[in-house]
């Protein structure tokens, strides 16, 4: 029981840090995924926008779902939300608190992906190279509209034969990258300021409610863990008793046909089974006719 308590205290004090750790790992995985991913702009008029916006938004959605799946608390929250009321009232404030803490943690990795994408710039260059004003750039000012669209679409591809030596390509790239990085840093600044304000201004509003919600959400989490542990312990004892009863019933049968325990000391462990045939019979019985799940 002592050991249980020790393990439990560990879980309780570290439940938050375990979740924060998972959140951090997912954020790192997000950055790693982006660097491993080989961004390859198609350089075709309509495909560019679809591809880039896809790369900008689909992985964050997938990362968000991953963040929800990997967080154990989301299951606990759902169970608490859907359980029948019974004799215990449901407190919506607690459920709301759990939901917001889960969503906040799950949002970290997607936001990091979007920020890294914007700071890198390739995505925005690919998406909006066809939308820049060709009049601003010398190399594209004199072509027909259709040609301009084709050329602008090829700007992200440095190695394309048409773009290889085009200086205006670099100008368009730099222009779009500048916008992209400005957007990326702005988003990062806004988010950090928002997080800062939330941390500092929260105690000014509803602190008592918050403390209660946090306490009871912690409680629900721990209660769930202890219930699972108790079920495990119970099933272990149940199995132990069931097997003992089984061996005893075999012992009864054997006693009818032969001598009893050969020797003290080892006798208890031998449980009256002292030869090959008896053991084979016991093993066969165990498979063919498992004892009923009843140890009363």
């Amino acid at each position: 029981m002592d050991r249980f308590r020790m393990i439990f205290q560990y879980f309780q004090s570290n439940s938050e840090s375990v979740m924060n750790g998972i959140c951090g790992l997912l954020a790192l995985a997000s950055v790693k995924m982006y660097t491993c991913f080989d961004f390859s702009c198609p350089c075709l008029p309509w495909y560019n926008m679809a591809y880039s916006l896809g790369i900008m938004f689909i992985p964050p959605i997938a990362l968000f779902f991953c963040g929800l799946i990997l967080n154990r608390q989301s299951l606990v929250m759902l169970e608490e939300w859907r359980r029948p009321q019974g004799r215990r009232k449901k407190d919506l404030a607690v459920i709301r608190y759990m939901c917001s803490s889960i969503v906040q943690r799950a949002m970290v990795a997607p936001v990091i992906w979007i920020v890294v994408t914007l700071l890198d710039g390739k995505c925005l260059i690919c998406a909006f190279s066809g939308s820049v004003d060709p009049e601003k750039f010398v190399g594209f000012a004199n072509a027909s509209p259709v040609q301009v669209q084709q050329l602008l679409a090829k700007v992200p591809c440095k190695d394309d034969e048409l773009m290889r030596n085009n200086t205006s390509r670099k100008a368009v790239s730099r222009y779009l990258r500048c916008w992209s990085q400005a957007l990326g840093w702005s988003i990062l600044l806004i988010l950090i300021v928002a997080a800062f304000l939330t941390c500092w201004l929260r105690p000014c509003f509803n602190q008592a409610t918050l403390l209660q919600a946090r306490h009871w959400s912690n409680y629900i989490d721990i209660e769930q863990k202890i219930f699972e542990e108790t079920c495990c312990e119970h099933s272990r004892l149940f199995a132990h008793t069931c097997i003992l009863h089984f061996f005893e019933s075999m012992q009864q049968e054997i006693k009818l046909h032969s001598f009893s325990l050969p020797r003290e000391g080892e006798g208890d462990l031998l449980r009256g089974i002292t030869d090959q045939d008896q053991m084979n019979k016991l093993l066969k019985m165990w498979y063919c006719e498992k004892p009923p799940l009843d140890v009363s």
Partner: protein, 338 residues
């Protein structure tokens, strides 16, 4: 028993994280396998499709089966499924739960392989290079080729060094196009898988929570029961072996005493434990004979009962003179009160 219980409690309480760890390792192994694999497109009209789709679909299938093979609980599931009903009913829900949880874990490595393959792009480029829309992407001014000739030229797109259709359609244009399609498919697949996983995990508490708790408890129970039974049998085997071997040595001691016509020596009271442990074998020749006998003629798997107490005080010495002693060299012996 205590150490077993401690380890077991630890594993059980951490079983989720243990299994998740295994899944993570398999996913990483799958990604590593892909990067170590040397993809080699044949660049021939019909072979491309077969090769590309083969690399996309056959390794995931193998990884899926491997996921089942490496999972210890598969034999437990099979055993529970095939056992005769006997005195204990079978619960289909428990079997379904066990199968579903194993299948979910086995699906992770194949899903990672398919995602990595699609996001890399080489496979789809190889498989579908003959289907590139030449009319929209290619040079309109190029004289038209026959179907077969065009396919032959397009099939070489993935192999840049032997590609000879630059006037028909630029190699980079075609590869970029195919890779874009491949990556779009890859991210869509990733999104689909994560959405499915999320739905499966989050819809369960909304609908079948009570049944789920029951199935989970009984599937853990079956696992624990099997492990405890194995542990009990191992303990029994240990005791059985110990007694069997002791009886063997005692039998040897008796035989030797009878052969040399020495009366069985009562160990002097002050010789202590060491003399007892020698089991009556005190010289090289005797030990060699004991070892030879152990190899040539192992004792039967049958333990004698202890000596019955007799009037002359020899009780407990392992000398049952009046008892019908089992001759050492017989292979079967029974004691029966019938």
């Amino acid at each position: 028993m205590d150490k077993f219980r401690m380890i077991f409690q630890f594993l059980q309480s951490n079983q989720e994280s243990f299994m998740n760890g295994i899944c993570g390792i398999m996913a990483l192994a799958s990604a590593q396998m892909y990067s170590a694999f040397d993809f080699n497109c044949p660049c021939l009209p019909h072979y491309n499709l077969a090769y590309g789709l083969g690399i996309l679909l056959v390794p995931p299938f193998i990884l899926f089966l491997l996921g089942f093979v490496l999972n210890n609980n598969v034999s437990m599931l099979a055993e529970e499924w095939r056992r005769p009903q006997g005195q204990r009913g079978k619960d289909r829900a428990v079997l379904r739960y066990m199968f579903c949880s194993m299948a979910q874990r086995a699906m992770i490595a194949p899903a990672v392989w398919v995602s990595v393959t699609l996001l890399d792009g080489k496979c789809i480029t190889c498989a579908f290079c003959t289907s590139v829309p030449v009319e929209t992407l290619g040079n309109a001014s190029h004289p038209s080729l026959s179907q077969g000739e065009m396919k032959r030229v397009l099939a070489r797109i993935p192999c840049k060094d032997i590609y000879d259709g630059q006037e028909l359609i630029a190699n980079e244009v075609a590869i970029r196009y195919l890779r874009c399609i491949s990556q779009a498919l890859g991210w869509s697949f990733v999104l689909l898988m994560t959405t499915l996983a999320f739905l499966v995990r989050s819809l369960r508490p909304c609908f079948t929570q009570a049944a789920f708790l029951k199935s989970r408890y009984w599937s853990h129970y079956i696992d624990i029961e099997r492990k405890m039974f194995d542990e009990t049998c191992a303990e029994h085997a240990r005791s059985f072996a110990k007694v069997c071997i002791q009886q063997f040595f005692e039998g040897m001691g008796t035989d030797l005493a009878a052969a040399h016509c020495h009366p069985p020596r009562k160990a002097p009271a002050d010789a202590g434990e060491a003399a007892e442990k020698l089991l009556g074998i005190t010289d090289q020749g005797t030990m060699n004979m004991a070892l030879k006998s152990w190899h040539r003629c192992k004792p039967p798997l049958h333990l004698h009962p202890p000596a019955l107490p007799s009037g002359n005080g020899w009780a407990g010495e392992g000398q049952p003179p009046a008892h019908p002693a089992v001759p050492r060299r017989e292979t079967a012996a029974y004691y029966s009160r019938v």
